[in-house]
């Protein structure tokens, strides 16, 4: 494996949801978008908050704060647009963020014991331990326990 491929594998986008930072693999992240209007309409899909229009495309928005933080997050500042895989194809999807993103390179470690399935690893950035999210498992997670587990991790 070349140094560049290795760097890509360990390249993450740090994102802020509420007061906590998480990470996503950089290869699935498209862009950071400004807080455009959220369009809502009746539906019965859990975790989907509505849609935004981005570059002429209708992009679904996943409200991940209750899952990650155990509560609603305050007014968000950006949308992170990432690709969610559907078999061989993918669909742009958005998650609301409360701060800017950073690109980081780090060595990934296994997730801590008992962490929810959507936490696929952890790494250190300075003094901070950041958890890597599995985007697919995060946006399809509907177990009530995971909100408590994820929130408990944030307690000092």
């Amino acid at each position: 494996m070349t140094a560049m491929e290795n760097a890509d594998r360990n390249s993450f986008v740090l994102l802020q949801v509420g007061e906590r930072r998480f990470a996503l693999p950089s290869e699935i992240v498209d862009e950071l978008a400004p807080p455009v209007r959220l369009h809502t309409f009746p539906h019965t899909s859990a975790l989907v908050a509505g849609v935004i229009v981005r570059r002429g495309h209708i992009v679904p928005v996943y409200d991940v704060a209750p899952t990650l933080l155990g509560k609603e997050s305050p007014t968000h500042r950006f949308y992170l647009i990432a690709q969610r895989a559907f078999g061989k194809s993918s669909e742009a999807s958005a998650i609301p963020l409360n701060g800017e993103c950073e690109l980081a390179t780090a060595e990934l470690q296994p997730p801590g014991e008992g962490r929810p399935a959507y936490i696929s690893g952890t790494f250190e950035i300075g003094q901070e331990s950041v958890e890597l999210l599995n985007f697919e498992l995060l946006v399809t997670d509907q177990s009530p326990e995971s909100a408590n587990d994820s929130h408990a991790e944030a307690q000092p």
Binding site: E31, L32, P34, R37, F41, S45, V51, V53, V59
Partner: protein, 177 residues
């Protein structure tokens, strides 16, 4: 990380536009193809023609109406879409289906150039409710699938219940006579 600009790209393909009726239910706007609506009537004008279903099978269908020798099932759109209950003032009588839909008001007619597929993130009942989404004057509006108001199974069950009730009434009428 660079923040992309807010411009919304427009498709350069020429598309046939489709006339739709924009209507609202509990402050939520929907679009339905104008072709799929036979008639729009006020609930006041239909009151005398509505038959109450004595033991409703579905919470969203409590009445039937007869139009041109056909029995239509009246669907309350608030209940159908799980919206707060309002006082609907209009009935959309659909063209191809025996469904009449109670709505709050007609906003206006519009032309839409495209019906965008519902994103795959949506996995619930909305996949049956909507044909897709339309972008109308800076608003994303769901485009109704007329066949989504009642499933075939629901039609059959409602037909059975209403026929049984009619037979019962006829028998009672015959006995009293």
């Amino acid at each position: 990380m660079k923040i992309a600009s807010q411009d919304v790209g427009k498709s350069k393909r020429t598309r046939r536009s489709e006339p739709v009726i924009l209507f609202s239910v509990a402050h939520q706007t929907f679009a339905i193809s104008a072709d799929s609506v036979q008639e729009i009537r006020s609930t006041d004008s239909m009151a005398g023609a509505a038959n109450e279903i004595e033991q409703p099978l579905l919470a969203k269908v409590r009445h039937t109406i007869e139009r041109a020798h056909r029995k239509y099932f009246v669907v309350n759109a608030c209940t159908h879409f799980n919206l707060p209950i309002t006082r609907p003032t209009l009935v959309l009588i659909l063209r191809q289906l025996r469904v009449a839909v109670l709505v709050d008001k007609i906003e206006r007619m519009a032309e839409i150039n495209a019906v965008h597929a519902l994103p795959r993130a949506f996995i619930g009942e909305e996949r049956r409710w909507y044909r897709g989404l339309a972008y109308v004057e800076d608003h994303v509006i769901p485009v109704i699938e007329p066949a989504g108001f009642l499933t075939r199974k629901e039609f059959l069950a409602l037909d059975r219940v209403t026929k049984a009730a009619e037979s019962q009434r006829e028998m009672e009428g015959a006995v009293q006579a």
